[in-house]
């Protein structure tokens, strides 16, 4: 039995693939922005033991890191409406990604904060800076810089994980692949090409984020 590969048949679906790619990117961008913001808040309250938030974040981090993203997504998309909260597939996807990345980045950023040399904080304290000033001006940037590569890896993981958002009919890249293969009956070719697209997206996002990190986070690389 010989199978004739037909990748050309995918060409007519390039608009759908492009739209899917853009939506995956948009999901990732929004998820990253709010997820990292949540992570900074969580890391600060964990590292500085701000009651009761340190406890709240500790429980949140454990709950999220020990359950699958897909289940979190289903819980939000199918579970919340049964409590009377109406939520569409995009809102659910973004919420799940933010919550997921927030938990992981809390732990990553916390490790960076806790690696701050004691002397740095003592020096800032001796200059009569407040706790808040010390965190924002002295601790945060070097901590982020230190763990930025780990954050980049986590964002890539979240982007790749977003492919399961197709399961709640969010029309992102995997949804596009499912749609196309149901039309052209070329499942292997379609998934193969889309997998390649994810691979390139992962490379691009990592590079972009590493560069952005160099630009946006002040100070020199140590």
């Amino acid at each position: 039995m010989t199978y004739a590969f037909d990748f050309a048949s995918l060409l007519e679906y390039r608009d759908i693939l492009l739209a899917g790619t853009l939506r995956t990117l948009a999901l990732t961008a929004i998820g990253t922005f709010f997820g990292l913001a949540l992570g900074v808040l969580g890391a600060a309250s964990r590292a500085w033991q701000l009651a009761p938030w340190n406890r709240v974040f500790a429980v949140y981090v454990e709950l999220i890191r020990n359950t699958p993203f897909l289940v979190q997504l289903f819980f939000i998309f199918f579970g919340l409406p049964s409590l009377g909260v109406s939520i569409n597939e995009w809102q659910a996807s973004i919420l799940a990604m933010v919550i997921n990345l927030g938990a992981y980045s809390t732990e990553i950023i916390r490790a960076g904060i806790e690696a701050t040399p004691r002397g740095q904080i003592e020096a800032a304290e001796s200059l009569a800076m407040t706790r808040r000033q010390i965190f924002l001006r002295v601790v945060l940037a070097p901590a982020l810089r230190k763990v930025w590569p780990a954050i980049c890896s986590q964002v890539v993981i979240v982007m790749l994980g977003s492919s399961v958002c197709s399961q709640i009919a969010a029309e992102e890249l995997t949804f596009a692949a499912n749609f196309i293969q149901s039309r052209n009956f070329r499942a292997f070719e379609t998934y193969f090409v889309v997998t390649g697209m994810y691979f390139l997206l992962a490379l691009a996002i990592r590079q972009l984020m590493l560069r952005a990190g160099d630009r946006l986070i002040g100070g020199r690389r140590t």
């Binding site: 039995m1 709950l63 993203f69 897909l70 199918f78 994810y198």
Partner: protein, 218 residues
């Protein structure tokens, strides 16, 4: 349809937990063996072997697990193999696990100080003997905590196999949620099931990590 009792739900979910556990163990053991082969390829003296292993790892770490499963599921039928969802899931997760474990273990081998390689080389040990007697015993100690830590990712990864039709915990949950119209309860219980599997592993991994820092290396 609505006469399914909570007890029925729990009993079915527990069945799902067993399938999740079985798949996790299979993928972890087979993935560990494959990962070991990858590790040796990754640090081999042959350049093309190193490159091949690196490419393998990058592809599996750089693409969605769901896509890997789709390709295995649909690709196998192209070569005339009709894989059951169980086999496709086990194969996919094994490959996925091996890529991560291979890379984690390579990091452990590389964290053994260079002086250990030099000292054993100066004693005329061959590359294999260096690995066997000096490097791997030390790397193994470093590797235990992150390996246990990664097992959590394997358990969570099994959820994705529900999408290719393997009936484990998540798939069971989806079916029950449809049948009972109680998605909040059902998915809450599903999450609880994963948590019960993963949390002890997370705690264990953290404890190992802490004791590895606190005590000496033998």
């Amino acid at each position: 349809m609505n006469d399914i009792s909570t007890w029925d739900v729990v009993r079915n979910l527990l069945d799902g937990v067993l399938w999740t556990l079985g798949l996790s163990l299979t993928a972890f053991v087979l993935g560990g063996l494959t990962g070991l082969a990858l590790l040796f390829a990754r640090i081999a003296s042959t350049a093309w072997l190193r490159k091949l292993a690196k490419a393998y790892i990058e592809v599996f770490q750089g693409t969605p697990l769901l896509m890997q499963l789709f390709i295995i599921f649909f690709g196998s039928s192209l070569i005339g193999l009709e894989l059951s969802p169980w086999l496709a899931a086990a194969l996919g997760l094994t490959l996925f696990t091996s890529a991560y474990l291979g890379e984690i273990w390579r990091g452990c081998v590389e964290s053994v100080p260079k002086g250990q390689w030099e000292a054993s080389a100066s004693l005329a040990l061959s590359h294999f003997e260096q690995m066997r007697y000096v490097i791997l015993p030390q790397a193994l100690k470093i590797a235990i905590a992150p390996t246990v830590g990664f097992s959590v990712q394997v358990v969570k990864g099994t959820a994705v196999t529900s999408i290719i039709g393997f009936v484990e915990l998540t798939k069971t949950g989806s079916m029950l949620a449809n049948a009972t119209y109680q998605p909040f309860l059902v998915f809450g219980l599903v999450a609880l099931g994963y948590f019960a599997l993963c949390y002890p592993l997370s705690v264990f991994s953290r404890r190992l990590e802490r004791s590895a820092h606190g005590t000496r290396a033998h």
